[in-house]
Symmetry: C2
Subunit: 354 residues, 2 copies
């Protein structure tokens, strides 16, 4: 190898969940929404004047920011939008985590956090969740370069009560605290109510889960104007035009159709609560998930064995071969039919095993 | 200001061209294509099954990479795709410019290069174009951490002959050389023919200009497989799912409609050559542009005055208040009608002034 290759980035990328292509697949492995997006999205695509695509999109994504601002009760200048919440979170890391001090996030958490920290040369420490997979707020009362955690946490589904989040924010007024609310709409309590109270809080949400628009790539952050202006400066130093014209318009239409959104989310919550009963009856143990997935282990049968058996039947769930969680499965909540297929298979499979 | 703000990124963002909203505007300031995209793009949008948007897009953007690979005669593994060529170029900077040595790009060039270098803490030097605004290849025969230049150059429109590009690549086999071909389709000679000959070459192109899809945000790079695999690892460490499902499919449809592409490009070239004659007759001086814009100064009247006068008539061109080029206008090639409006106004305006 010649010296050309010496100065390339040497990086271990994040490995996303499988995208199996079988036509009979039941896909419960990447926390997608089993229901289609609002019919208003379809209308936007069908009626969009494709001739407009010759022009650059609005770099401010005004139509989307205004819709989000009105919907959630903020000013437009408090909203940042990006190519999925991954883009938004990466921009947060670049914008706010430059102190040289280690940032803090839980040991069991979204597996992209250490990847971004490595990409941007940010030191980090990972306080351990307790044995119930709960964040221990006192672990975050120490000097740090910033804090980030999902709420509800992934892949555990466990929610940290808002009062404890507020304690963490209060104890860290010289650091930015990012609450990553990818799954908040499925029954959790959002920290958006704290945004105008604490200048060090950034709340990040996504259109990929509760709004059924993973394929459109839209996420957003809400914070005070000064933090958002820093994120905009970084974003405009990276790519002025990140959100395309179609995504801006289709995402805005989805937010406006609030009834569809609520109906869809409620269906998933009902299915989740039923799945909890069924899984419990089959001998699974899990925390009380407030997300669109259940993170479960079986009392006697190994997670990896169940994972492989499901896969053979083209039922895909997520298995993480990592310390502390290598006996768990993360099962996305699908439709009632999909969950029935899962439960029926597990009944048979486990009755043979147990 | 408390210490919260000390560790934020402090950055001067790139300032994109104005997006004036007047209904009678003639927009010749951001090098967009005056013609709509291929009708095949419209068909993709109208027939797209919006229900699919509930799922994540293909993180490999296989449909688009395969189409590009077949069209340009490469293997799929030699293609990288991103959210416009700005995203692709930013990924190149992160992937390849990590030596600590300064990278090289021309003093008059795409104004985003120094912005990325600052964002990623990359040192740089900017060899001067000669007085004819040409790149002097010998300036790039010195130790460096990488090389990037647009061809044709922006905002000058001047093409560097392929033989001289090859000399630069040959003299820098331990550095990655990025040829940024945003404007190549308007009459330049692409360096794609050199990709399989030199392992240190990356060619970057965009759908925003010649393919009339600025609003869709798609760009791509072609290089040897090893370089592309590094870019993919960096991209997957930043955001696994950058291109949305609609952009992947619509961009592939645009590439397949090669007749429309060629017809549109040829119309713009004819309009450009006519505009050169008209501008010359009005006393403008310029290099022989091979792009979809003309970078011109007037023999006697100041560029800034012409810029302001045009703006008052809602005719928008680009003026850069920067050393060496502050007496030039960058005029995007519009339709024949748009160029006639420009020329007619200039005739009147200049006859009063000269």
């Amino acid at each position: 190898m010649n010296s050309l290759y010496q100065n390339f980035r040497n990086i271990e990328p994040y490995v996303p969940g499988e995208q199996p292509q079988y036509s009979d697949r039941i896909k419960l492995n990447t926390n997608e929404n089993p229901y289609p997006p609002s019919p208003e999205v379809k209308k936007v695509l069908e009626s969009y004047d494709a001739d407009n695509l010759k022009l650059y999109p609005d770099p401010e994504a005004t139509a989307l920011k205004e819709t989000l601002a009105e919907h959630y009760g903020f000013e437009k200048e408090q909203i940042f939008v990006g190519v999925g919440s991954d883009d938004v979170l990466a921009m947060c890391f670049m914008s706010f985590f430059n102190s040289g001090k280690p940032i803090l996030f839980p040991d069991i958490s979204y597996s992209f956090y250490p990847v971004w920290a490595n990409l941007f040369n940010i030191k980090y420490e990972t306080p351990k969740l307790n044995d119930n997979f709960e964040i221990v707020k006192e672990d975050y009362y120490k000097e740090n370069g910033g804090i980030v955690f999902p709420n509800p946490n992934a892949p555990t589904g466990v929610e940290l009560p808002l009062s404890e989040i507020e304690e963490i924010i209060k104890h860290n007024q010289n650091s930015v605290v990012i609450v990553d609310e990818a799954y908040i709409d499925f029954g959790g309590t959002t920290a958006l109510s704290l945004v105008n109270k604490y200048e060090n809080l950034v709340v990040v949400q996504t259109f990929s889960k509760s709004r059924s628009l993973a394929g459109l790539r839209v996420g957003f952050a809400v914070a005070n104007k000064q933090l958002i202006s820093v994120m905009n400066a970084v974003k405009n130093s990276y790519n002025s035009y990140t959100l395309n014209s179609l995504s801006i318009n289709a995402a805005a239409a989805a937010v406006k159709d609030d009834k569809y959104f609520k109906d869809t989310v409620n269906k998933i919550i009902i299915t989740r609560e039923n799945a909890k009963k069924d899984l419990h009856n089959l001998g699974f143990e899990f925390n009380d998930s407030k997300s669109n997935f259940i993170f479960a282990k079986h009392k006697t049968v190994k997670a990896k064995d169940i994972f492989e058996a499901l896969k053979e039947k083209h039922i895909f769930v997520r298995y993480f071969n990592m310390p502390r969680i290598d006996n768990y499965l993360r099962i996305t909540i699908g439709t009632d039919e999909e969950m029935k297929a899962l439960i029926d298979f597990l009944k048979d499979y486990l009755s043979d095993k147990c």
